[in-house]
């Protein structure tokens, strides 16, 4: 009975859902942390809007990565069709986790670095690039999460 409801399709979908909603929630939190700092800077100096907006947008990529993996899991399910085995379903579930979990944490932490980098822009707009580089350091781990998830989905 249990496995009739929680069948292979369910686990695959669950994996896709986790991949997206964890990563996107992380991005939402990260962007909001950066956005609060950004609004403060714009309140002082409107000319810095574009600079801080770029920094604020940086933590949004985790959500995109989660979106991509969720979609790839669904595409894999379409390809497998009704022939999907329990093992494949569970594998797809697990494959969604790297970007989901790493995406959530890296999104939040990247947001904090982005907020701090917005502080750089507040003082010296010329040094925005340095802030971007510092923020991108966190991004690398989300990219690894995405990559591992892609490769894992590809293996099913």
């Amino acid at each position: 009975m249990f496995f009739e409801v929680f069948n292979a399709n369910f686990w695959a979908i669950f994996g896709g859902a986790l991949a997206f909603f964890l990563a996107a929630a992380g991005s939402a939190k990260g962007v909001s942390i950066a956005g609060e700092a950004a609004s403060g800077v714009v309140a002082e100096d409107t000319d810095k809007f574009v600079n801080v907006m770029i920094l604020e947008a940086l933590p949004s990529t985790q959500g995109i990565y989660g979106f991509v993996i969720a979609f790839m899991i669904m595409a894999a399910m379409t390809e497998l069709g009704s022939a999907i085995t329990m093992q494949q379903g569970l594998t797809l579930f697990v494959a969604g986790l790297p970007i989901g979990i790493v995406g959530m944490f890296s999104g939040i932490y990247q947001g904090r670095v982005a907020a701090a980098s917005i502080g750089i822009v507040a003082k010296r707009s010329g040094d925005m690039v340095k802030g971007i580089i510092l923020t991108l350091m966190v991004e690398l781990f989300a990219i690894f999460g995405l990559l591992i998830s892609i490769l894992m989905v590809g293996r099913v």
Binding site: I132, L140, L151
Partner: protein
């Protein structure tokens, strides 16, 4: 770059500096005065002159900011300074005193305008106050009669007004209280009290938080006053409209005011520069850097007009000099990317020509959609070739155009035109239109290529290091610090190849056996050479060992290039989702409308996010992975003394 020393007559100083500014080819450095001649020359800033110029600039700036909202000139998409020839410029400058007077007048109008606006505010707040007293039946100025006192005032809403009235009643005081109005915070009351009882009533009211209200300067009934004030507000508004009409007319002179603004800022720059050069009693001298190619021209130009003595020399061995980058069509487009990181040192090779193709190709690889690339290349190309823009913007547009073309290149290879738009429209979603292969279908293969591009990029970085060493004539160091790394890293790459997905079996078999030898030889050389600069034996050993640890750094650098795959995939997967969502409506009238809407919004967002991502990540790969291998920054960009204007560009 050559160092130039110019000696001229003191009386010509201003004119020579103006001419230098006009030519804009000399980077005037902080002129040094030898101790031997210190008693003859000194640097003197004419601060009164500068203060006066700053005052004028401030006046003009104020006038410009007042007139800007009324500016009806056509505004270009990109801010660009207006071209002006010498003749027109001098014509305006001849009238600079009139323009300045007009600017002061505009500033006065602004003060007047602010006064009127604050009057309106004052009336408005009075009206709000009076509205609470609308039911007052006596003139506002009446405060007493022969035997009574009249108080107008407020009780806090929290106070129990009924109870207060009752208590006054009970004490049989000769007093009548009229409630004239109330709101959330207060109850407005008018108190008529006989002189004999005034004291007692007052103390009861005060105890309950009564506060008196007066209407200074007002006479007559409340409604009369309100309508009077409304009339005045109307008059003021009419006055404002008149002034604004006047300002709109004056805004036609904005061109002139802006030109004069630039004129005075030029003069201020010259005055500031006069403080930087060495001034003596009869002569002055200054030092600066000039590109070798222009030296002759400047010499001829100045000595023709004035009595000057100019000497030039090549930079000394360890002397730092400003860096003027000279690059071709492609390399010069990424100069700003490099300069944002740091200006290359004068001792090092300019990295831009090597960096440019990598930056542009990596951008294309990460955006990776031919449709997006084509739109970007066309849009930026049109701006670059046909729209007048400032130089920095022009370089940026050129770079973006080239990046767009690179995106078209990769997009065609991968068969991505607005994602899978063509297969979807043709009704056969599995159609393959790629020239090379589809990364979405075969990400592991793409990963292998991404890492390989990374290795190539890093090797190019090492080659740049060799170029820097050649420039310094340290040929032996190339063997120890570049070649040995090549051997070592190549060995490591061969050894890990079997663990990288999708590497062809034949390639592994061909190179793997050599891997261990290269790795060992490289490691031994590094172990013995990397600590060579240390004085003691421990330093030498640790230096050698820590160099081996750099292998970890190299590997993580290479892995970092996996973003080339990840970001590229993200673009095409999302584009595919957009197409799928758009085509859900089928081929009907509403279906097509939905498709177009989804197409524009979806691809618009996808393009914006991924173009930004491609730009910042491509920059990052240069800054962190590439520059780390060789880059020597800390240079000073060549910044000639030139006209630094805000609104106009004077053409010769």
């Amino acid at each position: 770059m050559k160092k130039l020393t110019l000696v001229g007559l003191h009386d010509d100083r201003h004119r020579i500096l103006s001419r230098l500014m006009e030519l804009g080819v000399l980077d005037i450095s902080d002129t040094e005065i030898n101790p031997e001649i210190e008693h003859l020359f000194k640097k003197e800033v004419d601060s009164d002159d500068i203060k006066e110029l700053e005052g004028k600039i401030h006046t003009l700036e104020g006038a410009i900011s007042v007139l800007r909202p009324f500016d009806k000139r056509k505004k270009p998409l990109f801010k660009v300074r207006k071209d002006m020839n010498h003749h027109d410029f001098s014509a305006v400058i001849l009238r600079r005193h009139e323009v300045l007077a007009e600017a002061s007048r505009i500033n006065r109008i602004r003060t007047e305008l602010l006064g009127i606006k604050s009057d309106i505010n004052k009336y408005n707040s009075s009206i709000i106050q009076l509205n609470s007293w609308n039911a007052l039946s006596i003139p506002v100025e009446s405060t007493d009669t022969l035997r009574t006192e009249i108080w107008k005032g407020m009780l806090p809403a929290a106070a129990d007004t009924e109870a207060i009235l009752k208590s006054i009643d009970e004490e049989e005081l000769a007093c009548s209280i009229e409630i004239t109005g109330s709101d959330n915070d207060q109850t407005y009351i008018t108190v008529y009290v006989h002189n004999d009882d005034a004291q007692k009533v007052s103390s009861i009211l005060k105890r309950n938080g009564f506060s008196n209200v007066n209407f200074p300067g007002l006479r007559g009934s409340v409604s009369e006053n309100i309508s009077l004030m409304e009339e005045k507000i109307g008059e003021n508004q009419k006055e404002i409209a008149g002034i604004e009409e006047n300002l709109a007319e004056l805004s036609l002179h904005l061109d002139e005011i802006e030109t004069v603004y630039d004129y005075y800022s030029i003069r201020k720059d010259i005055s500031l520069m006069e403080g930087e050069i060495a001034a003596g009693k009869r002569v002055f001298f200054l030092e600066g850097w000039i590109p070798e190619s222009i030296e002759e021209k400047l010499l001829a130009d100045l000595s023709e007009k004035w009595v000057v003595d100019i000497n030039t020399r090549h930079p000394l061995e360890d002397e730092e000099f400003p860096v003027l980058l000279k690059n071709g069509f492609i390399a010069d487009s990424v100069e700003d990317i490099t300069n944002m990181y740091d200006v290359p040192s004068h001792k090092a090779v300019d990295p831009n020509p090597v960096m440019a193709p990598f930056f542009i190709l990596f951008f294309g690889l990460m955006l990776s959609d031919a449709g997006y690339g084509l739109l970007m290349a066309i849009a930026c190309g049109v701006v670059y070739f046909f729209v007048p823009i400032e130089d920095t913007m022009k370089r940026f547009m050129k770079m973006m155009m080239l990046c767009g073309l690179a995106t078209v290149f990769w997009g065609t290879l991968f068969g991505s035109w607005f994602g899978n738009l063509i297969p979807v429209l043709s009704g056969n979603p599995s159609m393959n239109i790629s020239v090379w292969f589809e990364p979405v279908k075969n990400p592991e293969y793409m990963l292998m290529w991404a890492l390989l591009f990374g290795v190539i990029h890093l090797y190019a970085g090492l080659a740049m290091k060799a170029a820097n060493l050649i420039k310094r004539k340290k040929y032996l160091d190339i063997v120890w610090d570049v070649l040995s790394w090549y051997v070592f890293f190549t060995g490591a790459v061969f050894l890990v190849m079997p663990y990288v997905p999708a590497v062809p079996e034949s390639a592994i078999q061909a190179v793997e056996p050599y891997g261990i030898y290269l790795f060992a030889v490289g490691a031994v050389i590094l172990l013995f050479t990397q600590g060579r600069k240390s004085k003691n034996i421990f330093g030498k050993i640790i230096g050698g060992l820590s160099a081996l640890y750099d292998l970890i750094g190299f590997m993580s650098d290479v892995l970092s290039y996996s973003r080339l795959l990840a970001l590229g995939l993200a673009t095409s997967v999302i584009a595919g989702i957009v197409n799928e969502m758009g085509s859900m409506g089928g081929f009907s009238f509403t279906g097509v409308i939905v498709f177009i809407l989804v197409f524009i919004v979806g691809h618009g967002i996808n393009f914006a996010l991924n173009a930004l991502g491609a730009y910042v990540h491509s920059s990052r790969l240069q800054y962190i992975e590439f520059f780390n291998k060789f880059y020597e920054g800390g240079g000073k960009a060549f910044a000639p003394f030139r006209r630094n204007t805000k609104y106009i560009r004077i053409k010769d």
